[in-house]
């Protein structure tokens, strides 16, 4: 008895201390898990509470389908249709440009490249993921915009109705976004391609398929769910990006046409939050809510895609 009392600091020492440690560990883990859930719930709650008042004050239709954004006018107008469209079109176009490049890079890394070369390219891709978004924006501002302005001057030379933007337009934003989603797309689709069972590839080659045929007819279909995940994550990154595109897109609310100065959902919040007051501020929260719902939708699609992939793997 005395022995066990002396050793009571040890976990093995007594059943009592052992169960105390067990219980307290359980409490710690539960608290941590609860914290994450609490964060998600409070953010959701906060966005809904702050985002909905403007919807009722201004009207859902006026906000979501209005095309005039004049928040500080004597008779303010809070239409964000163009802003929503810009986010959709901009994200879609950047996916259209970024995904093929990303996927082909992944194929190169996983299948085509000699090992030594792949070991040089891979860290470069990973480095691309680590570059802060403001650097992308700055390079876009200094390099991309002047080039765009030259094109703009040539293309719209005789168009009296075009408003010249000095190169800050949708195309610039799309190019910057496309580069920014590359690492996400490359890394995940490469992992998916590498996870394709070896026997599938071997069977295809044994049946006389060429290397390229094997890649496009066997490997990519087999890695489909992983590639879809890569695309969905890319969409998530593109739609949530603010800093880089706020520097290159011009930030005026316009139709998302290639040479128009445009504003995205994210940049709409960033650029006006500092000086907004009253209802204007509340509408910015509503834009945040719209963005939040968009990203939730993408996450929902992502998890759905993942589950589908798991089922296919089980077969």
């Amino acid at each position: 008895m005395t022995n066990t009392k002396e050793k009571s600091f040890s976990i093995i020492g007594s059943l009592k201390t052992k169960s105390t440690v067990e219980k307290s560990a359980q409490v710690v883990f539960t608290t941590c898990a609860f914290f994450a859930v609490l964060a998600v719930l409070s953010i959701t709650l906060y966005m809904v509470i702050n985002g909905t008042p403007a919807l009722t004050k201004v009207g859902i239709r006026e906000i979501l389908f209005g095309t005039v954004w004049k928040p500080t006018a004597a008779e303010p107008s809070y239409g964000i249709l163009y802003v929503i469209l810009t986010s959709i079109v901009g994200t879609f176009l950047s996916i259209l440009v970024g995904v093929p490049i990303g996927l082909f890079t992944a194929i190169f890394l996983a299948e085509v490249a000699p090992r030594k070369l792949a070991k040089l390219v891979k860290p470069a891709v990973e480095l691309l993921a680590g570059i802060p978004s403001v650097i992308y924006g700055l390079l876009g501002l200094l390099l991309l915009n002047p080039i765009m302005y030259k094109w703009e001057l040539i293309i719209f030379k005789d168009d009296p109705n075009h408003q010249f933007t000095g190169g800050a337009n949708l195309i610039s934003a799309v190019i910057v976004l496309a580069i920014m989603i590359l690492p996400t797309v490359i890394n995940i689709s490469e992992a998916a391609l590498k996870a394709v069972p070896r026997h599938l590839k071997e069977a295809s080659l044994a049946l006389g398929g060429s290397h390229i045929q094997t890649i496009f007819k066997v490997m990519i279909p087999a890695a489909k769910s992983g590639i879809v995940t890569a695309i969905v994550l890319g969409v998530g990154r593109a739609i949530g990006e603010a800093m880089a595109i706020s520097l290159v897109s011009g930030s005026s609310v316009n139709m998302p046409l290639p040479f128009n100065s445009v504003r995205f959902l994210t940049t709409a919040i960033v650029s006006e939050m500092g000086y907004a007051s009253d209802l204007h501020r509340q509408v910015l929260f509503t834009i945040g809510l719209v963005l939040f719902l968009f990203i939730m939708l993408i996450n929902f699609l992502l998890t759905k895609g993942l589950k589908k992939g798991e089922k296919e793997n089980d077969k």
Binding site: T72, I131, L138, G166, S252, E272, G274, Y275, S277
Partner: protein, 309 residues
């Protein structure tokens, strides 16, 4: 075997990272370059500031107050607020002054919420803000300069021409006596104090057609400086050699002209308090006394602003 391989990978990754860092340096240099360009103007008034600081210790005997003053608000007023807090704290070592730059509306909101003593606003207070108890104390006047890129040949614009350009009716520099080049209209985001003041003074509220709505003074300066044919508006005191400030109605944007009232683009800098100044803490009252003193006026001039009287 495997171990050696992973070492090799590590070495390659390391070298790539070093290369990356070097490349990173290259791009950051560009960042600092533009930053320096902007800073040169901010650095300019320091000699005058220092002069004020040197004077301060002589009168220190008077300074026996203690306490703290917090202010928040307009980013346009950053230079004034920073210089004021430095000099004031040097004069009254017992008082701490903290300043945040959250935007005019956010500053007045913090004031109403009671989290700060002074709300800085680079525009006149709105009726809704005055109803909430904020009192408008105008401490200085700021001029707004209309800037164009250095290669532009247009030296002056009339008020009507400026209005026409910002309303999108005039689209080419040849229409106002310049070369045949399109006009790139650059402005600030809705809610910005500078934009509010500019549009109000020109009576073009919400009629402006912007090609670029940028969210800071620095961004406007950078865009105008780097884009041929661009026109923008910024606070008078940040104008530097990277852009050209044009004369309006044949009046050059200078302090004398703004004081004389002949230059029409100018706006008030407000340090709002919740209730009259006389109802504030001793420290806050002393701050306003300081601003009204000769020393305070010197300070206001040193940051490129114009005193009220």
């Amino acid at each position: 075997m495997k171990n050696r391989m992973s070492k090799l990978v590590a070495v390659i990754a390391m070298s790539a990272m070093v290369m990356g860092t070097l490349a990173g340096c290259g791009s950051t240099e560009e960042v600092t370059e533009t930053a320096v360009e902007q800073e040169t103007t901010e650095a300019a008034p320091t000699p005058a500031e220092e002069a004020v600081v040197e004077e301060a210790p002589a009168e220190e005997a008077v300074a026996d107050l203690s306490g703290s003053i917090s202010m928040a608000g307009s980013t346009s007023m950053e230079k004034l607020a920073t210089a004021l807090s430095e000099v004031f704290m040097a004069k009254y070592p017992g008082i701490t002054v903290t300043a945040e730059f959250t935007g005019s509306s956010a500053g007045i909101e913090s004031l109403a919420a009671g989290s700060v003593d002074i709300g800085n606003s680079s525009r006149s207070l709105k009726d809704s803000e005055k109803e909430a108890g904020a009192v408008e104390n105008i401490v200085a006047i700021d001029g707004i300069a209309v800037v164009v890129d250095p290669e532009n040949t247009v030296a002056g614009l009339s008020k009507d021409q400026l209005v026409g350009i910002y309303k999108g009716e005039i689209k080419n520099w040849s229409e106002v006596g310049g070369t045949d080049a399109p006009i790139v209209v650059v402005g600030r985001e809705a809610g910005s104090g500078t934009r509010g003041a500019f549009e109000e003074l020109l009576e073009v509220e919400d009629l402006c057609v912007y090609a670029n709505e940028l969210d800071s003074t620095g961004a406007v300066m950078a865009k105008v400086a780097s884009t041929p044919g661009a026109i923008g508006y910024v606070s008078l005191d940040v104008v530097d050699e990277t852009v050209v400030a044009v004369a309006l109605d044949e009046v050059a944007p200078t302090e004398e002209n703004i004081k004389a009232g002949s230059y029409f683009l100018s706006r008030p800098f407000v340090m709002a308090t919740q209730g009259e100044v006389s109802a504030q803490s001793e420290a806050v009252q002393e701050l306003f006394n300081f601003l009204a003193s000769e020393e305070g006026k010197e300070l206001i001039k040193s940051v490129g602003l114009i005193t009220v009287d």
